[in-house]
Amino acid sequence: MFTNHVSEVIKNGGEVEQVATRNGFGEGLLEAGKRDANVVALCCDLTESTKTHLFANEFPERFVQVGVAEQNLASVASGIASMGKVPFMTSYAMFSPGRNWEQIRTTIAYNNANVKIVGSHAGVSVGPDGATHQAIEDIAIMRAVPNMIVVAPADVHEAHKVTLAAAQHDGPIYFRLGRSSTPVVTTEETPFEIGKAQLMFTCDESLKKKVGIVVTGSLLYNALMAAQELQTQGIGASVLHMATIKPLDTEALSEFAAQHDALVTVEEHQVIGGLGGAVAEFLSETNPTKIARIGIHDQFGQSGEPDELIAHYGMDVPSIVAAGQRVVE
């Protein structure tokens, strides 16, 4: 059954509101700017699509338009942070951290610089723009960098909270956002803390076989729908929402793995190096567990509508259900 972290609309099976996570970021950044005069924003000619314009319009003197120059973006943000300010650097995830990974590593992470890296348009759900603009390796490349925190918020409310938490956190953090509208699963009241996983759906203890679904980002809704479906088919299913991929909430993950026969990981990202990789790495050393990984399997994306692409690459509800059945067979 759904836990208290899930909205009433979803619990009651009503029509789910759809909003892009980038909207939550834009409003969160504006609020962070109002709370703290040291908050600064930088963007690379994508001010409206990243929703940074909400901040830029309110605080033009604290906004830096860097132009189409993502490498410069990262190191300029590092310089701004070294003067005691709290810069949020925004672009599409494909370009930042995609293009400027070394600058992020050397001038931000290595110095533990207080820079907030915001990558919008992550995942294949970017849609018609095609594979060049669909960042599906960003979690992997950022997770491998020391000092870096990596977060994939599930919906607009969580994106808002991640933004405010990032402004409060002292050190580098990367979080990814989506372009397209995605289901609003949580509520304004749902708590959020960097590094803490949340149980969103608990399985029927009376069922014999039990599968645990570990999910990050906006596929949380699909994971919840799949868990419901699995239970109607007689397989117990729970959902653990792992918004923070690094540091991994290993305490919650260990407990979750111990309570289930097998796990399914779900992410809109390559299964190599992403959430699936992180979960498998940790559990293989502590509690070897059978895991099916839902995500992109070593392929590039392509043009199409978000729903078509999510289904094509096997991240839709039926694909998660099938993985759940297979993994507890």
């Binding site: 830096v64 132009g67 300029v76 310089g79 070294s82 070394e102 050397t106």
Partner: protein
Amino acid sequence: MYTKPNMQYLNSEQISGLETQANAIRQSIIEMLTEAGSGHTAGPLGMADVFTLLYFALLKHDPTNPDWVERDRLILSNGHICPVLYATMAHAGYFPVEELLTLRKFGTRLQGHPHRQALPGLENTSGPLGSGLSQAVGMAIADRMDNPYTSKFMYCLTGDGELQEGQIWEAAMLAGKEKLHNLIVIVDRNGFQIDGYTQDVMPMEPLAEKWESFGFDVQEVDGHSMRALNDAIGKAQAVYSQPSVIIAHTIGGKGVDVFERDFRWHGNPPGKGPEDRVPKSDQAKVALQKLRTLAGTIDNNNHA
């Protein structure tokens, strides 16, 4: 804490004192590189005059309080010439001169390429080329947000080979657009890089015109003349409404005539350099002899 005005006239005695100091720093560079057994020689020797002038005459800084908020910032963009930065900082009082011999060794604060968090007084981490100028631009923007009339200067030191990085020109474009009067870039124009002379590897002339077209006030000076450098930096400080660049023409390996002007000294330490002018076994000894007397023109033994 040095609360002097930014630029000041230097009399002959002061200039001669700075030259002697630069020479002592060059000797430290030879000693530390020889002990380390790896590292870059030509760039550090070539930039010793610029570093000496900045740390001993121009920078607002306090070696006993490296985090002093009102300090000027010195951002080294081409991190591989860090032996000159470390040696100058040690001579200026940031840490003991003896510590220079730990360069590149396990556990040292003097990493092979500078790491900001390893050593108080370092403003940035560098090594991968091209990102220091962006950081200096970020610092200049942040400082100006707090005070549009700021007289705190960000001195960014770059190599000439480094100017082949695209990121340099991304940063230059932003500096020009933002009219950062508090940014002063000093280019070490020694004309060579690891693989050869810059004009062969990747020609960059007309260099002054490139910077000008990006909105910079441009000066070209003799990078070994304390007076010319001091005057140029003084003028750069007086430029409002645009950033400044000083193209400092230097001689790689300056001070050791048997090393000078040879690109093969870019990335080798004494003892491992080219042998046609001085055998490997004598390279460190000969270099120190030359520097102690500045080819017989001064008596600098007291600074050795």
